[in-house]
Amino acid sequence: MPEGDAVTGATIELDELTKRYGHSAQPAVDGVSMEIAAGETVILVGPSGCGKSTCLRMINRLIEPTSGRILINGEDVTGIDPVKLRRRIGYAIQSSGLFPHMTVAENIAQVPKMLGWSKSTVRDRVEQMLDLVGLDPREFHGRYPRQLSGGQQQRVGVARALAADPPVLLMDEPFGAVDPITRDHLQDELIRLQHELHKTIVFVTHDFDEAIKLGDRIAVLREQSHIAQFDTPEAILTNPADDFVSGFVGAGAALKRLNLTRVRDVGVVDVPTAAMDDPRETVVDRLREGTSNELLLLDRRGRPYKWLRTGDLALAKGSLARAGTPVTGHVSRDATLRDALEAVLTDSAGRVPVTGRRGEYVGVVDMETLMNSVHELLEADRMAAIEHRHDLEEMRAHHTQEQLEAGFGEGGR
């Protein structure tokens, strides 16, 4: 069961990791250093051939580094038995990599079996994992991979990677081969999983939007895996380090920024409301008191139902039931600002009710609130980035100072 905020991940440190294939002149990965906190999701993005997969596969030593070190939870794993190492690290790849001659259950059970878990523990674990990735154990347990859709295969792939509860999960474009809608679902699922599990995830993609959506931090890599920028999605969107990064972020950084904030995090405005059964006079009074010439009529369960204007009242002489225009769109509090913007833009009057968990009225967003929120967000991002840079510089200065002192110390002897 989900256990609060218990971090089960491990820290990963890459120290001057380099890979040179065969006798090629240029290394494929050139001296990458990176520190990843426990429970963090780090995304590696970059153009094709920049060494993302090589980098990732050096962490579980599917590719042996030419030089450099990998530390997991502070332990240097560069020299240990790679087979044992890999059993402690989850691994999921693009084509799901499921073994076609094994059932879904057998596929998931592979690592626990290799680790010598008892039969009954393995069996329970398989059921649990299927549940975790949203597949009904009774239905999918005995199926073969070819009897699954691409998305389902990918889920099983993730279940297999997580089966032995590894602290670290490596994923190489795991959602690259499924259609956009399924990919979106799988991404949401991964976010939900990570919310429960708090693994340390290193995730490779070349889709920057995917990176923004999933990453706590994003490492934008240029050729030979030189790190162009390693920062939070917000910071990269609002403050790309150089032209390479802004090129990679692509057009519409501000729009993409909208994806990172949800409606519940920004202010909504209130409009006058009335219930359906309220007497006509009350409604008229509220409309008159309100600043706008509009009122939102709620149904019996408090959900947005109709927009009422002053003019509508005059027209509808009888009951309120027939007056006004029905509410067409609404956004939930969990929707991203981008979804909200979309809804506002398509609404004829440029305002959309916000609803809570059960669809009840919470407030309204319109163009003006959105604009204000976005400006505030961008401003805050910029401030944070400047502060961050300042901190970094200070740290570096401090570092140099120490080195200088150490140097003097030696020189003095």
Partner: protein, 267 residues
Amino acid sequence: MTAGPGTEEAQPVTSALQSAPMPRKVTAKKLIVTPIVIVLALIGTYVWISNVSLDPIEKNSLSGALVRQALWQHIRLTAYSTFFVLVIAIPLGIALTRGGVRKASPVATAIANLGQSIPSIGLLALLTFWLGIGPRTALVGMVAYAVLPVLSNTMSGLRGIDPQLVDAARGIGMSGFGVLTKVELPLAVPLILAGVRNALVLNVGTGTLAGFVSGGGLGTLITNGIVTQRTRVLIVGSVLAVALALFVDWLASLAELQLTPRGLEES
């Protein structure tokens, strides 16, 4: 199947195997028809031989004890040679697809090819210079002849496996041996079995040539028939050889049905 960009990527294994030569399909019809054909042919030949008057030479050559012995020898020759073929070709095929040895694979296939491209009777004749005559020579010749199909099928079965699968297997922490036994070999089983089936049938066929080098088997009947110019002896020998070949093929197809991993069958 649903359409969508994911579908093609989703089933790399089957497509990889389909690009390699696919074993003949075993249909239910064939499973019933083959034994019926064999039994009918045998009964027909028996009835025919029992109802014609045979001269002493024919009687002698076709005595129950002699025919049974020839048949038994033939089965033994086939079984032994197939055993040696499996023991040689499958491990060799595995070795030739592993890391460093891989470079030697063209040489090995060339040699195996040579074994098969020399006419089998010529191969046997050459072997008699070296090993003399007798069942041993016949056995060596049969093995040399049947190694190739099993070897090449083992190799193409192992090579046809989607590298992504091997990557995934290593990635989740299987040892080299684990990857081979739990992933690669099971996936190569259909092709290896097809090769074995091929070898079995080939062995029944080349087994008839054992008669030329005094190796025993149904070939003895056939050579006797030729030497003594008794067509009926020759026909009985040939019918038995054909029936044995069909029967062995049938048995092998049963084994294939049984041993092919379930996830790989077409539904």
